[in-house]
């Protein structure tokens, strides 16, 4: 699809209790590339094939969870346009000056109906992916791709009460599409919503939860199912807590592993899935097929997957 307006989930800030353990996890085990670190210990990472200076930020805190999620627009005009649409919907916004996040341009901050802090931004310094822009070749210098071989930040899943309220933001202001949803098979209440602004099955998702502003997971894109299995081997080697070993989702048809960082924040490695277009119909799953919707190889939901958030 032609990607216009809001391009992607470009930045997730994850709160961590033990910053040294978190750096070992995200930097050495997951294999993200550290690009910045500030005096408070906040550490900025990119995955190797991203051009922007950072997409995953870990910030010291006394409790885990999400700091904010930020969405990148194609340009500054789109940032203004989307902000106007938010105002038309009655969403209050706050202007943040350039450098409120390092090496990034002006931002517009607002709170999602699910209680999460969200930013829009158009500019962030680009440092490249290690390959030339002219005659780039096919791989970065050996040693660039490390750890779990993550190529990009893919998406995140957040929890809160008013997930239906987020529809106005993502459908009406962002112009994104609802690729899939999970509903209760008796009440037909929507339990999880999957939003895409691209050809991917999802760029962000929301799960209905009794508490607002909760973090379910951040997901890292891998190149292949082989890399999913390689990541699983690394998790075993380093004794990283794994929630669900390599399997596939019914929803999105992505191959997956869920695991936890040393502060209890859930991470995912993810690959595959289908191509979404604006004319792709919204796919609906209901809880009579909950197991298959979530984990489609053993068709068995995990209690912790539904209840454990930070």
């Amino acid at each position: 699809m032609t990607i216009t307006g809001v391009m992607r989930t470009g930045e997730v800030v994850i709160k961590v209790v033990d910053i040294d353990a978190a750096r070992e996890h995200y930097g050495e085990r997951v294999g993200l590339i550290e690009t910045l670190r500030d005096e408070n210990g906040t550490t900025y990472y990119k995955a190797w094939d991203e051009h922007d200076l950072y997409s995953i930020v870990i910030r010291p805190s006394d409790s885990p969870g999400i700091g904010h999620v930020a969405f990148k627009t194609v340009d500054d005009a789109a940032l203004t346009e989307v902000t106007d649409k938010l105002h038309e919907l009655g969403i209050e916004t706050t202007d943040l000056p350039a450098e409120s996040m390092p090496r990034s341009g002006r931002r517009v901050r607002f709170i999602l109906p699910t209680g999460h802090e969200a930013h829009l931004y158009a500019e962030k310094e680009q440092c490249g992916n290690g390959m030339p822009l002219h005659n780039p070749g096919t791989m970065p210098p050996p040693g660039t791709v490390r750890g779990m071989r993550v190529t990009r930040l893919d998406h995140c899943l957040l929890g809160g009460q008013d997930i239906d309220g987020n529809t106005a933001i993502f459908r009406d202001a962002f112009g994104w599409n609802l690729s899939e949803k999970l509903i209760d098979h008796e009440s037909e209440m929507t339990l999880v919503m999957f939003w895409t602004g691209s050809n991917k099955p999802h760029d962000i998702a929301f799960v209905r939860q009794p508490e607002d502003n909760r973090f379910h997971h951040a997901s890292f894109l891998l190149e292949s199912v082989n890399d999913v299995y390689h990541a699983a081997d690394l998790m075993g080697y380093y004794d990283i807590p794994v929630e669900v070993g390599p399997t596939r989702h019914g929803i999105t048809r992505g191959a997956t592993i869920y695991f936890f960082d040393p502060s209890g924040n859930r991470n995912e490695v993810f690959t595959d899935g289908y191509l979404h277009y604006p004319d792709s119909p919204t796919l609906v799953w209901d809880t009579s097929k909950l197991g298959q919707a979530i984990f489609s190889q053993d068709n068995t939901p995990r209690q912790s997957f539904l209840e454990v958030l930070t």
């Binding site: 209790v17 033990d18 353990a21 006394d62 409790s63 885990p64 969870g65 009460q161 009794p210 508490e211 607002d212 807590p241 794994v242 929630e243 669900v244 070993g245 936890f260 960082d261 040393p262 502060s263 209890g264 924040n265 859930r266 053993d298 068995t300 995990r302 209690q303 912790s304 209840e307 454990v308 958030l309 930070t310």
Partner: protein
């Protein structure tokens, strides 16, 4: 790897559930998982989610880093801990109390405790 002498392991009695034998330097939850037991619910295993929150009724212990949203200083002083960050110094007696849930009502510090009746579950990881 050197196997620690059996005498240095500590026995953790989970009230109404069972007993976990905990080798030195191993958290109560990790020892439980390693023994294939399910006396306590399993969540993030990293001090964050709080589903393995317990009250230590008897015994001495040390703890690792935990979420303050689950165990604040006051709760820690009262013997509340997360089993995934709980390291026995002596034999312990503990009670599962479930994760701490802040009330949705703004401006109150009151909390309620989630039922732990479903905690015989195990992850299939």
């Amino acid at each position: 790897m050197q196997v620690p002498p059996a005498s240095s392991s500590r026995v953790v009695e989970v009230q109404g559930r069972g007993r976990i034998v905990c080798p030195p330097g191993v958290s109560v939850l990790r020892a439980m998982v390693a023994a294939g037991r399910a006396d306590l619910p399993l969540g993030c295993r990293s001090g964050g989610c709080g589903v393995c929150r317990v009250r230590v009724e008897h015994g001495e212990y040390t703890v690792g880093p935990m979420s303050a949203a689950q165990v604040d200083a006051e709760a820690a002083a009262e013997g509340i801990a997360l089993a995934c960050r709980l390291f026995p110094s002596t034999d312990l007696r503990i009670t599962a109390i479930g994760r701490r849930i802040p009330r949705a009502t703004a401006g109150t510090a009151a909390t309620r405790t989630e039922s732990t009746t479903s905690n015989s579950r195990r992850n299939a990881s």
